[in-house]
């Protein structure tokens, strides 16, 4: 079976899922299945077939599983959003159509992804500009204390979603070029005195710092790992001038903490950066320096920036019943019923789901009388809604679908012949996977909850658009990689 035929067959279960999902939701709503459910399934399938035909024409050798997996996720998202609010689902469906146009547009425009390398500094500058936009007066908008969106007339837009693509493209290109010279192994070992200096001084200084500054266990570990990684980097021959842009990325991540006040996006960007750095150089020591610098910075800002500090406090003391002043109502309330409300309710909803869930459309999102039981059910907490309705099995299935998507992305990277293609595929896939980890980890209390979308599933135009463009880029890389392999007879 050809790759494209496999893709087409992959879409069949997806449309079945859409029909079944909508039928379940409608059945609990109106007690009988309407023709509408079949229409939804048919329209969705139609759209996917159009996209499939387009891929068939333009990227005949692209990976056959990526698109059906993405369609599956989008289908799950549509059903869940429909269940929460049919009006939002209609909007999301429109965004899906627009997204497919972007998807096809990207494939049409970028025949060869290597052209992106030529514009890498332009792309980097544009991405940084996009990140700063929400902070600009007039168009910037604050959502839950974080600056993530801009408002242009009626359209609300989250530029960070696109900035993540730009930054990955830039880093892939930059690291392809400098990865080899960033650090180079020494040909001869250092003389003894230099070795003594290299190892001795940091050990003494670290011990002193721990004793004098009284860092505590977490801080001490962080410092030791940092110094050890730094020494490991310095042992080789680091190229100072090529480190500049990397420090810039670190600074950018920190700036995001301060300016955009969003830990989740910062984690996503910096994580993607470190993933690329590791793949490009193969040096764990660089990752060690990066991770410790990030956490050091994050802990520092956790104490400095109140929004970030609040997020940490909510994460650690979710169920605290201490009475605190609630900023949203101005009254004294128990912490768990104000600041901790979102995370606590997320976990309560998941507890209600159990193994198999309560069934599509049966989740309790609003209390009678209108008080919200699952805040932001269509965006941040959509995963909690899924656990509630489809249970642990449904949620594990979703995470499994993401993992398959990530697997295909990494597979593309491994098949690709040139460094830029490899790094681009790895970077795009990693940033998507990290986004899943940040939001699902947030609502399951693995890490502090910050508002990023669940890729392809959450409601939100910019997110869906950006992820479909990401998918298009992956398919482009995949097409060229697989074509070359087929040419060489390595892929049947």
């Amino acid at each position: 079976m050809s790759a494209r035929a496999r893709e087409l067959f992959g879409l069949l279960p997806v449309s079945l899922l859409v029909v079944a999902g909508f039928a379940a939701v409608l059945a609990t709503r109106t007690a009988d299945v309407q023709d509408a459910t079949l229409t939804y399934g048919a329209v969705f399938l139609g759209l996917c077939v159009v996209a499939h035909l387009f891929i068939r024409a333009r990227l005949p050798d692209a990976d056959p599983y990526l698109f059906p997996l993405a369609a599956l996720l989008a289908a799950v998202g549509l059903v869940l959003i429909y269940r929460i609010d049919p009006e939002l689902a209609r909007e999301q469906a429109q965004w899906f159509v627009v997204g497919l146009i972007f998807f096809c547009g990207t494939i049409l425009l970028i025949r060869d992804h290597h052209v992106l390398e030529r514009y890498r500094y332009l792309i980097a500058a544009a991405s940084i500009a996009l990140l700063v936009l929400p902070r600009l007066p007039g168009i910037g908008a604050q959502v839950n204390g974080a600056f993530l969106a801009i408002e242009l007339g009626p359209i609300k837009f989250q530029p960070a979603e696109f900035a993540k693509l730009g930054i990955i493209i830039f880093l892939a290109s930059y690291l392809r070029e400098t990865g080899d010279i960033l650090v180079r192994p020494r040909l001869r070992p250092l003389p003894f005195q230099r070795q003594l200096l290299l190892y001795g001084v940091p050990v003494v200084l670290t011990l002193l710092a721990i004793l004098v500054l009284d860092l505590g266990p977490a801080g001490s570990v962080l410092l030791v790992v940092f110094v050890a990684s730094l020494v490991a980097v310095l042992r080789e021959r680091p190229s100072p001038k090529h480190f500049g842009p990397l420090l810039l990325v670190w600074g950018l991540a920190m700036l995001m903490l301060i300016f955009i006040r969003d830990l989740g996006s910062a984690l996503m960007f910096f994580g993607g950066f470190l993933a690329l750095l590791y793949v490009a150089t193969g040096r764990l020591s660089l990752v060690g320096v990066g991770v410790t610098m990030f956490f050091g910075g994050a802990f520092f800002f956790a104490n400095q920036v109140s929004h970030v500090r609040d997020r940490f406090e909510i994460w650690l003391d979710t169920f605290s019943t201490e009475r605190v002043l609630c900023p949203s109502t101005g009254e004294m309330t128990e912490f768990v019923n104000c600041q901790g409300y979102q995370v606590a309710q997320s976990l309560f909803a998941q507890a209600d789901g159990g193994l198999f869930g309560e069934g599509f459309g049966r989740s309790l999102i609003e209390a009678p009388g209108g008080s919200i039981l699952i805040p932001a059910p269509h965006t941040d907490l959509i995963y909690s809604v899924l656990v509630n309705e489809a249970g642990l099995f449904g949620a594990a299935g979703l995470v499994g679908a993401y993992l398959l998507l990530v697997f295909r992305g990494f597979k593309i990277s491994m098949l690709a012949a040139d460094g830029f293609s490899k790094l681009l595929a790895v970077g795009l896939t990693s940033v998507l996977a990290l986004q899943v980890f940040v939001i699902v980890g947030g609502v399951t209390r693995v890490i502090p909850l910050t508002g990023v979308t669940l890729p392809m599933v959450s409601y939100g135009g910019s997110s869906l658009l950006a992820n479909l463009v990401l998918l298009a880029l992956l398919l482009i890389v995949s097409d060229s990689a697989r074509r070359e392999r087929i040419k060489r007879g390595g892929l049947v």
Binding site: A275, Y278, V279, A280, G282, F319, T321, E334, V336, N337, A344, L347, F348, A349, Q350, A351, D352, G353, G354, L355, F356, E358, G359, L364, A367, P368, L373, V387, G391, L392, A395, A396, V399, Y402, L403, V406, F407, F410, S413, M414, G419, K422, V426, S430, A433, V436, F437, V440, G441, T444, R445, V446
Partner: protein
């Protein structure tokens, strides 16, 4: 590069596994903990959407609690109303979104709310059935409850009637009662009321049991072989007990007297000596067999029951160091004073009535599905064997004398023989009030009902105040064919 890519993929596999692990923890492993979290209102709200099961009296017809739908379609919720108003308020309790739930509404909540496990709920979903609550049929007698409430006549107090062979609780009346229908609107007032209408005096309040406790002392003395009903003891008054003189009621001096006569006339000095003779250890041992020192094993919320026992001036339960002579007559001092909940004293009477076998008290008879099928029948369950059957026979004979010719003649029923024991504890700062008691069972030949009656802070004796109430309730319960 491919090696690094593979390693990176491994990292993501681990990260995603962590996500699934945490999801499992919240959704399955710790789900119960989260459901019990007081901030979690999901269960309460969901249950509002389900018609809660009925609570019915023992006749299976009289509705004690019903659910009434309000609103339409998606917004339809059910609220509880209590057709019998205050009559069954203490055993039944209330269930409201804002006020929570108490009493049977709480202890039988799983059945009333139609709680299902994972697999059952899948079937319910597949069959398209709406989840609904199960009905709870109680053992509570309408006639008995009405009679008890009427007989107390507004005086603060408690009446508990139990079937000795089965442990079925037929009457649980605590005055003042409250109208559960008013809880949503008047909760603050009910909570602040100095008469404590929300307090179930049968299980949540401890009183000095006075001379009714002599039944416990007598059980210990007879069953341990220390005495027989015919043993002769010096009943002169006053007598020095623990270094302090103790007098009989009215100062009557009886001289040498049989143990049976001592119970008939409730002779304090005899029982104080008996207490000293059997000792603290034996007395506490028998108290525990009767159920003292532990919550009643009733199908009722733990929060609404407290153990009876010997309590010192600091409010701690003690098992030694107390003045055993005074505890033996239902009193005590700062080192330890015996205090009992009315249901505990009803259990004392029930254990004697059932040949020494104490049955676990049960408010619920059965749980019934909407289609009439019985989902669960609560079978009689032995709580403990308190004494030998011969001891129970001896005690029954002694207690019969109390009603025939002793302090409890006011409880005598026409055509039905009653065995009982009166008690009158002095309470108040200057001992200006009394706490009259009467515990009894009937008919003597084949006991079908045991009862405990007490009135709070009043004047008068157990024989004149409490015994007539017991008589009225026993008549209502036994006269109508039980």
């Amino acid at each position: 590069m491919n090696r690094q890519i593979a390693q990176l993929f491994g990292l993501f596999v681990v990260l995603f596994a962590v996500l699934v692990a945490f999801t499992s923890y919240w959704s399955v492993l710790d789900a119960e903990g989260l459901e019990d979290n007081p901030s979690n209102r999901r269960a309460l709200i969901r249950e509002q959407k389900i018609p809660r099961g009925l609570i019915l009296a023992s006749d299976g017809r009289t509705k004690l609690a019903v659910s009434v739908p309000r609103g339409r379609g998606e917004d339809r919720v059910y609220t509880r109303t209590y057709p019998t108003q205050g009559l069954f308020s203490h055993p039944v309790g209330y269930s409201y979104l804002r006020n929570g739930r108490i009493s049977l509404e709480r202890s039988r909540n799983d059945a009333l709310a139609g709680e299902e496990d994972e697999f059952e709920s899948i079937f319910t979903g597949l069959e398209g059935r709406e989840r609904e609550g199960l009905d709870v049929v109680t053992n509570l007698s309408v006639e008995g409850t009405q009679a008890a409430q009427a007989a107390l006549g507004g005086r603060k107090g408690a009446v508990v009637a139990i079937e000795p062979q089965t442990g079925k609780v037929r009457v649980m009346v605590s005055i003042p009662e409250y109208d559960a229908n008013l809880v949503p609107s008047d909760f603050g007032r009910l909570n602040r009321d100095p008469n404590k209408p929300l307090l179930n005096r049968t299980t949540q309040e401890l009183y000095p049991p006075g001379s009714t406790f002599k039944v416990v002392t007598a059980t210990a003395a007879l069953d341990s072989g220390e005495l027989t009903p015919e043993s002769i003891i010096d009943g002169s008054s006053p007598k020095e007990i623990s270094g302090v003189p103790l007098s009989n009621a009215g100062g009557t001096s009886f001289g040498p007297i049989s143990f049976t006569d001592a119970l008939t006339n409730s002779v304090n000095t005899v029982f104080a000596q008996v207490g000293e003779q059997i000792g603290r250890r034996t007395l506490v041992e028998y108290m525990k067999r009767y159920g003292f020192y532990a919550d009643p094993q009733l199908d009722y919320p733990d929060e609404q029951m407290i153990p009876s026992g010997i309590i010192n001036g600091d409010g701690d339960y003690v098992e030694n160091g107390f003045d055993v002579g005074r505890v033996a007559i239902g009193q005590g001092g700062l080192e330890g004073e015996v205090r009992a909940a009315p249901i505990q004293m009803a259990q004392v009477a029930a254990a004697v009535a059932n040949g020494g076998r104490l049955m676990r008290p049960q408010l619920t008879d059965r749980i019934v599905r909407k289609d009439g099928r019985v989902a669960e029948r609560i079978e009689p369950d032995l709580q403990s064997t308190v004494m030998k059957p011969e001891t129970a026979d001896e005690l029954t004979a002694m207690m019969s004398r109390v009603v025939e010719e002793g302090t409890g003649t006011a409880a005598a029923l026409a055509g039905i023989t009653v065995a009982g024991k009166t008690g009158t504890a002095e309470v108040g700062a200057n001992r200006e009030f009394t706490q009259p008691w009467f515990i009894a069972f009937a008919p003597v030949e084949n006991p079908r009902m045991a009862i405990a009656v007490t009135v709070e802070r009043t004047t008068g004796q157990g024989g004149t105040v409490a015994a007539p109430i017991a008589k009225t309730v026993l008549e209502a319960l036994l006269g109508g064919g039980g």
